[in-house]
């Protein structure tokens, strides 16, 4: 094989590796507002929102109830915690309010 081919191939592999690495490394910051206190959490867009919720609750010391019992809201609209951050279209610096579910009406 020619030297030119080797160089191009090497360059291509390097670029692919960088892109692959970037895809996995890219994280966004989500601001969770819990009982009026803001907690910043770094999250992978490919992970479910629930994992970021769990992290925020642990960091803020709100560990009295399991993460599944908390509701997540963006500007008053509920979010599905099982969906990934990317699927929910959440961008860097988004503000999400967490409130304990009220299990009401009985």
């Amino acid at each position: 094989m020619s030297k030119e081919y080797d160089e191009r191939h090497e360059h291509h592999e390097h670029h692919e590796h960088k892109e692959h690495h970037k895809h996995h490394e890219h994280k966004i910051t989500i601001i969770f507002r819990i009982n009026g206190e803001d907690v910043r959490v770094e999250a992978n867009p490919n992970s479910p929102l629930l994992s970021a919720i769990s992290k925020a609750l642990a960091e803020s010391g709100n560990t009295g109830r399991p993460p599944e019992e908390w509701g997540a809201y963006k500007q008053g609209s509920p979010l599905d915690p099982k969906a990934t951050i990317e699927e929910l279209g959440l961008s860097d610096g988004v503000l999400i309010e967490l409130t304990l579910k009220v299990a009401a009406g009985g």
């Binding site: 009982n35 304990l100 009401a104 009985g106």
Partner: protein, 207 residues
């Protein structure tokens, strides 16, 4: 009193400080803190959704015969009346905050007998059903929110198994107000339904 009054006062001040810090966000959701004087916080909630006029119209007949559907006509310049909410923090947080609905002009308790359909509340449960949460309390006979985090729920004879102590570390007045706004403002659609020659008023559940 279950709690030392100085401790209760300090806890009250912390809750009021949090509400003040988020006053802009609360106003954007239709919530104004009117007065905070230990142990009471009075807030005014202003409904935002326009009234919808529901007119029964005939739709194409199905297999069962004539089909009537309600055509929705929003009236953008009309909405429901504002109402007051009084949050009582006596003995907080040994006891859950007390919540009562008030006339924002006089701050007298609102009741359903004299003010039918003036406000309502809904909650979306795990099966995505809209559940009414504004019920009549068996002891006070006044409307109350049947939701966790509220004294009238935890001290209700049917909820003695769901003690406030299980939740108190994870609940605040700010979170409580968020839940009230969600149930009583965001999820309620004031509706006028044409029925024959009359009009029925209802606070129906929304999305």
């Amino acid at each position: 009193m279950r709690l030392d009054s100085e401790v209760a006062r300090k806890k009250f001040e912390l809750e009021v400080e949090t509400l003040e810090r988020h006053s802009i966000g609360l106003r954007q959701r239709g919530c104004w803190v009117f007065k905070s004087e230990f142990p009471i916080i009075d807030v005014v909630l202003v409904p935002k959704h326009p009234v919808q006029l529901l007119i029964p119209v005939a739709a194409p007949a199905g297999p069962g015969g004539l089909n009537i559907v309600l055509q929705q006509n929003p009236v953008p310049f009309l909405s429901a009346r504002a109402f007051g909410v009084r949050i009582g923090l006596d003995d907080f947080d040994q006891r859950a905050p007390s919540v009562s609905f008030r006339d924002p002009w006089t701050w007298e308790p609102l009741d359903y007998a004299t003010n039918p359909n003036c406000f309502n509340g809904y909650h979306i449960d795990n099966q995505n059903r809209k559940v009414p949460v504004l019920l009549i309390h068996p002891e006070s006979k006044l409307p109350f929110l049947c939701m966790r985090g509220i004294r009238e729920y935890h001290e209700h004879p049917q909820h003695t198994g769901d003690d406030w102590m299980l939740y108190r570390g994870n609940m605040s007045v700010f979170g409580l107000l968020s839940n009230i706004l969600d149930a009583c403002i965001d999820r309620v659609r004031p509706s006028l339904i044409l029925q024959g020659i009359g009009i029925a008023c209802s606070m129906m559940p929304g999305e």
